[in-house]
């Protein structure tokens, strides 16, 4: 299996220096670093890069905050918390296809829940084609993605919270710390192992993001929501640019591996400490 992936890796790396339609190996033309030069100067690929950065920043920070809040709310195990935990995790168990179709129904311009609600509240001025408007499409993708994966972050934080001993809370209480001070000075710093896991998995996931974008907007309207993965898919399957696609792959692989290596080193340090 390692060999299989390595073969793919070397193949992609070599291919990224060529111009090729992906069909007949005889038509491969060496073009050095030209693919990379295009990749880092073409407005389209720069948009994709900016989109994935915006996506990464908002999904990671919002998921962290919401996931932690929900985990804290579920911690006292009040009535119904098992139900809520299952409810919040169900989207993780659902296919992205289902989530995407569900939200397309909500965002739909004429009959969608969001626009009909806005109209009935007398806010017709805010009504728009949510996924068809370049200014809101990326936001909608981010929102949908957070809805789908928040449950996973919640589970990480529930697990993280159980590692904090009750004595620590009692000590904080004896020192006279209220809820916010306990949260900021005790809970938040003790959760750093969980934070790093959530942050790095979120960043790696953001680089991989493909299906949610492809299903919701297909990279549109007018390329406004292109991501590296959607550009790569289009380059190879629709534009016959296997070489250019390979150069996008190489950049994505480099970023993913660098982030994962960072996580592995964090975990090592955790074990040593």
């Amino acid at each position: 299996m390692g060999l299989f992936v390595f073969y793919g890796l070397l193949y992609v790396l070599r291919l990224s220096f060529y111009k090729w339609d992906g069909f007949d190996p005889a038509t491969m033309v060496f073009r050095g670093l030209r693919n990379y030069r295009v990749l880092f100067s073409d407005p389209l690929s720069l948009t994709a890069l900016a989109n994935v950065m915006i996506f990464m920043f908002f999904t990671v920070t919002i998921q962290m905050c919401v996931g932690l809040c929900v985990a804290l709310l579920l911690r006292p195990r009040l009535l119904g918390s098992r139900f809520f935990k299952a409810l919040f995790y169900i989207p993780v168990a659902l296919s992205t296809t289902v989530i995407a179709r569900t939200f397309m129904g909500l965002f739909e311009p004429n009959f969608g829940v969001i626009n009909t609600t806005l109209k009935s509240l007398g806010l017709a001025g805010l009504v728009r084609a949510w996924l068809g408007d370049p200014r809101t499409a990326l936001g909608c993708i981010i929102l949908t993605n957070i809805f789908q994966w928040m449950g996973a972050q919640m589970v990480f934080y529930i697990a993280g919270l159980t590692t904090i001993q009750d004595e620590i809370y009692e000590a904080a209480q004896i020192d006279g710390a209220g809820f916010w001070r306990t949260l900021r000075n005790v809970v938040w710093p003790s959760l750093w192992p969980t934070h790093t896991t959530v942050i790095i998995l979120g960043m790696v996931g953001a680089i991989k993001t493909f299906d949610i974008v492809w299903l919701l907007t297909g990279g549109g309207p007018g390329n406004a929501t292109q991501f590296p993965a959607t550009l790569l898919y289009q380059a190879v399957t629709q534009n016959s640019q296997a070489g250019y696609g390979a150069s996008i792959s190489v950049v994505m692989i480099f970023l993913s591996v660098a982030l994962s290596a960072l996580q592995i080193s964090f975990n090592k340090r955790k074990q040593v400490a």
């Binding site: 299996m1 009535l79 995790y89 659902l94 296809t97 996973a152 790696v204 991989k208 190879v236």
Partner: protein, 265 residues
């Protein structure tokens, strides 16, 4: 929140949970209710009788998911055992490389995968629907199982060796049977991942009769059978039911695996 709560605080927490809950229930309930709009259960009947090959796609989804899970367990369990209990040169390095591949999108290898599948003549076949996705999920399974084998210690292995058994006997007769909780984790998470997978069938299925359910929704919307949105919603419900049921029934047996399985964020 960190000590005894007053009644007011409890009510406050419940209210906040309900508020969050409503935000989650509305989209999900919207799908369920819409799937019965108009013709009621007739929407589901229409899906099966209209000529759209939904039954074939459900069958494909089950075949592909079951084969993937079987393959993953069959390969990941001995591999994880080797990484956990057998000392061989380069063990740490090979394990790390396999774990690093977990973070790379399968899409990055699209051209070599296409070339390989075409060379083998596997395009649009069950082999192509099963093997690549199973390979890319394998590291997660190896990680879950290795963690479990690590927690079991070496004593059982030493006992087997004294009785004259090798590594293979130790794995087959001793370690594999007692790793059942971890295997359940792998089966449940692997099934859900594979059942929901959209990318692998998008790349390798070419005709309607080789599509799995995540693709079915897309081809349904673009065909005449999916002209009514209620029918598409019915198809979504059919797709959601197995994975949600599997999760709900087995959620208590999913320990930490639930977290280590969610590699995507």
């Amino acid at each position: 929140m960190f000590r005894k709560l007053s009644l007011g605080q409890k009510i406050g927490i419940e209210l906040l949970l309900c508020l969050f809950g409503i935000m989650y229930i509305i989209p999900l309930a919207n799908v369920g209710i819409s799937s019965f709009a108009g013709a009621g259960i007739g929407n589901y009947a229409y899906l099966f009788t209209s000529g759209f090959p939904i039954a074939r796609m459900i069958f494909n989804s089950f075949v592909v998911s079951i084969l993937q899970v079987a393959l993953i367990v069959a390969v990941a369990s001995p591999a994880a055992f080797a990484f956990s209990k057998i000392r061989f040169p380069g063990r740490g390095l090979i394990f790390m490389v396999i774990m690093l591949t977990m973070s790379i999108s399968m899409l990055c290898f699209i051209t070599p995968l296409f070339r390989t599948m075409k060379a083998l003549g596997w395009m649009n076949s069950y082999q192509a629907l099963v093997l690549p996705a199973a390979t890319y999920w394998m590291p997660v399974a190896i990680l879950i199982l290795k963690n479990y084998f690590d927690s079991l210690g070496r004593e059982l292995l030493e006992a087997t060796t004294i009785e004259g058994g090798g590594f293979f006997t130790a794995w087959l007769k001793v370690y594999a049977p007692i790793s059942k909780p971890a295997i359940v984790n792998v089966i449940v998470l692997g099934f859900i991942t594979s059942w929901n997978d959209y990318l692998n069938p998008l790349l390798f299925s070419r005709t309607e009769d080789m599509r799995t359910l995540p693709m079915a929704v897309v081809s349904l919307t673009s065909s005449i059978y999916g002209a009514r949105p209620e029918v598409v919603f019915a198809c979504l419900v059919i797709m959601a039911v197995p994975s949600v049921l599997v999760y709900l029934f087995l959620q208590d047996q999913l320990g930490e695996g639930m977290t280590s399985g969610s590699v995507k964020g």
